[in-house]
């Protein structure tokens, strides 16, 4: 199957099956992705925390953070007049965060330079990835590289018929992750893996809402100058 057909298979999972992916399979996919993903100055200034199927309590805490963030955003928007009133109920499409085979939490990582970069630093090069105080300043580049990694991992998972879903609604402040102490730097993305039982696509199709949930047109996204 070519890349287009492989990636076209991906759909957001509303509910995963109980079937668990072996940890060895996940580790193999992560290692392939690590090998294939490039990074500025070879820093890879991010870390991936893997929660397997035994970590139900931790996943529940992560899900709760997503819902709390959703509620807080809606309440803030309502107070600013950006929406009329909050929904006041959890987004059902965050369920994949608490019920999955594996959950990946991507966070920033403060790095040591490799030998080559150490030499360039002696020559006057500055590497912000080495300093905790610059984590927020370089977050757009770190997040972009996380996107490269996620894109590769998605492709390799699709090849193995493993479904994946993402969520970007969660608090960015590390202190709000105090009850998950392995989170030491700013969280960037959440990605779940498993075998899909029900997809968001199917829910919208049943409700006849699929045609209303479209992307911006291609000419809105791409502009030839």
């Amino acid at each position: 199957m070519n890349t287009l057909d492989t990636l076209m298979k991906r759909k957001h999972v509303r509910k995963y099956k109980d079937k668990v992916i072996p940890n060895e399979t996940i580790n193999h996919l992560l290692e392939k992705t690590w090998k294939a993903t490039s990074s500025k100055n070879n820093f890879m200034a991010y870390k991936i925390h893997v929660l397997d199927n035994t970590k139900e309590f931790e996943k529940q805490l992560v899900w709760y953070k997503c819902v709390s963030k959703q509620m807080a955003s809606e309440n803030e928007a309502a107070s600013k007049g950006e929406i009329e009133k909050p929904q006041g109920k959890p987004n059902q499409y965050y369920n994949h965060i608490k019920e999955n085979s594996h959950l990946l939490i991507f966070t920033s990582r403060v790095c040591e330079p490799n030998d080559f970069v150490k030499e360039t630093i002696k020559d006057g090069h500055i590497a912000h990835e080495m300093y905790p105080e610059y984590v927020n300043d370089i977050i757009d580049n770190t997040a972009l590289e996380v996107g490269l990694f996620i894109s590769h991992l998605t492709l390799f998972c699709m090849e193995e018929n493993i479904d994946v879903s993402y969520t970007a609604c969660f608090p960015r402040q590390v202190e709000k992750w105090f009850n998950l102490p392995f989170i030491e730097q700013r969280p960037i993305s959440l990605m779940s893996l498993g075998y899909g039982e029900e997809y968001r696509y199917d829910v919208l199709k049943k409700k006849g809402q699929l045609k209303k949930d479209y992307k911006p047109s291609m000419d809105t996204i791409i502009s030839w100058e």
Partner: protein
């Protein structure tokens, strides 16, 4: 060769291009790769809060201005590091040779943040109380990390489709984030902060093949165990 290996081998074969050759990939191939990347890259709430500005083979002057945004930012970052005591010297204002791909290439993709209106489905959700932050220009900096993750997915998909056609790609993330600086030099096509620069063409020289790099100290990734933590 299995199909699994073929994707992996394709992706692992990508290297940073120091210099492109003078052959120009047909525009049709670029258009098809852009279409496929648009089609297969997911986005939170289907917003795709970014815009891809493509500078084609004739836009050498604009590419030169973009290169200025890169080179000046690099110089400024070194100067600031000196002032803060994080470096004892600068590289002396020498242009980084690995930024040359920004100036000399057949195609340059400049990807900027861009607020988006919700589609019909999400307009209804907003009426029901959902907050669609991607619609608010004042929030661009707040959701920049989400936009950047999605742009990373887009450029990776675009790279894969181009690599399938043996078109090489390179990236640069060293540039001024302040869009006013871009406007000052006449790059007025975008209204919001840049996220990444990506070039495409047929490679003449890879960075890895430059003798200084090839014979220098090992320029390796962090160990897998430093990146992945099983909880």
């Amino acid at each position: 060769m299995t199909k699994e290996k073929s994707h992996f081998d394709l992706l692992e074969s990508r290297h940073h291009v120091k210099e492109y050759n003078s052959d120009v990939p047909p525009k049709e191939l670029i258009d098809i790769a852009l279409y496929k990347a648009w089609k297969t890259t997911p986005s939170k709430n289907n917003a795709m809060p970014y815009k891809v500005f493509v500078l084609g083979p004739q836009e050498w002057q604009k590419k030169s201005f973009v290169h200025q945004m890169v080179h000046k930012n690099h110089k400024d970052a070194e100067k600031r590091a000196m002032e803060r005591g994080e470096a004892t010297r600068t590289e002396g204002g020498q242009p980084n040779p690995y930024y040359e791909h920004i100036k000399k290439n057949p195609y340059l993709f400049c990807i900027h943040a861009q607020p988006r209106e919700p589609n019909e489905f999400y307009k209804r959700q907003v009426e029901l109380g959902m907050f669609f932050d991607q619609a608010w220009p004042s929030r661009v900096d707040n959701f920049i990390d989400t936009s950047a993750v999605e742009v990373g997915m887009f450029i990776q998909n675009l790279s894969t489709y181009l690599l399938e056609k043996e078109i090489n790609v390179s990236y640069t993330s060293c540039f001024f984030r302040d869009i006013k600086k871009w406007h000052e030099v006449g790059l007025t096509y975008a209204d919001y902060r840049p996220i990444i620069l990506m070039s495409a063409g047929y490679k003449k020289v890879y960075r890895k093949d430059v003798p200084y790099i090839k014979n220098g100290l090992p320029d390796i990734k962090p160990e897998f165990k430093d990146m992945i933590e099983w909880i």
